[in-house]
Assembly symmetry: C2
Homo-oligomer: 194 residues x 2
């Protein structure tokens, strides 16, 4: 009797083991991407805040002035740069608010809900960040090089500090864009492979 009782017990243990071991592997892989997602999100927040702050504080007044006019350049002068500051601030806020969902994805790596939510909103804010970064980049390029055909002169000879600061902001915003692309691709892979 004792042997017959032992046999079903051990088979039960084996079954439990296989149940516990089998889903643990893909779960671990998914948990890894979720943790990576959280870390990348922190980096994107830092880059987005740096971009918005660097552009928002760009302001240079030249030391000489005429009777009627003092030469000053700030991000306020350009509609594109205003859009840049606003949209990078919105993107940074979204990324901060998305951190709880990223944590939920770490705790429950198999639930597709939070990842789906994140991938859809990430795509939308990727587009917002890309559009503001590209628009600002084209203005910064114009400020550096000017355009002969339309007689738009390069202003970076005069406003060197202003140009350096706005260029830095554009670089930071493109880092945000690259990180957001990585986030979307990683979420897609984590959702797609079961």
């Amino acid at each position: 009797m004792s042997t017959t009782i032992d046999v079903p017990e051990s088979s039960n243990i084996n079954k439990e083991k296989t149940i516990l071991v089998a889903p643990a592997r893909p779960g671990g892989w998914k948990k890894g991407t979720a943790i990576m997602d959280f870390i990348l999100r922190l980096g994107a927040i830092a880059a987005a805040i740096a971009a918005a702050a660097s552009m928002g504080t760009s302001d240079q007044t030249l030391p000489f002035f005429t009777q009627f006019f003092q030469f000053e350049a700030s991000y306020d002068s350009f509609t594109t740069f205003q859009f840049f500051v606003i949209s990078m601030a919105i993107a940074a806020s979204y990324l901060v608010l998305s951190l709880p969902f990223s944590i939920v994805a770490i705790i429950r790596p198999h639930a597709p809900g939070p990842r789906l939510f994140l991938i859809i909103l990430d795509t939308v804010f990727l587009t917002l960040a890309t559009s503001s970064a590209a628009a600002a980049a084209s203005i910064v390029y114009l400020a550096h090089n000017g355009n002969q055909d339309t007689n738009w002169l390069a202003i970076c000879n005069q406003f060197g500090d202003f140009c350096a600061q706005t260029s830095g902001a554009v670089v930071a915003s493109f880092i945000t864009v690259v990180v957001l692309i990585l986030l979307v691709v990683m979420s897609a892979l984590a959702i797609g492979k079961h």
Copy 2:
């Protein structure tokens, strides 16, 4: 005996029915999104080709000229517009090449492979299309309104046709961007819900 034989037979039929009916519904839903994906892709191709062609043919020569100089504006004058034509052409080529994968997704709505492939590349080309659209939009805005602080004059008073054509190209490119966002979101939903 005859009744005991009948019972398992009918229960088998019921089981088969439930097996056949249950996966048919999500399959039909997924097939619908795959067909929608194909149709939206055709629309995005048309919009991207329209944007590239409209920008690429924008060229206006003013009827008056000085001794040394004839006033002419074409997309060649602006580095941003050159980037716009090239990247919209690349996006259109990608969308044409992605059609076979979209057809595979229609034939096999449950296979995650083609959809994963499409969502990752769609995200990359969404970023490319958005950056060129936004960069061109900021230059078009400048051409319309100018910028007082930097003494960049609005050129649309002189080059009216040129401005109208480039503005149209920017609108077409933003239609491409919106369709690509829809494609990414639809693919994500189709992959995520099982």
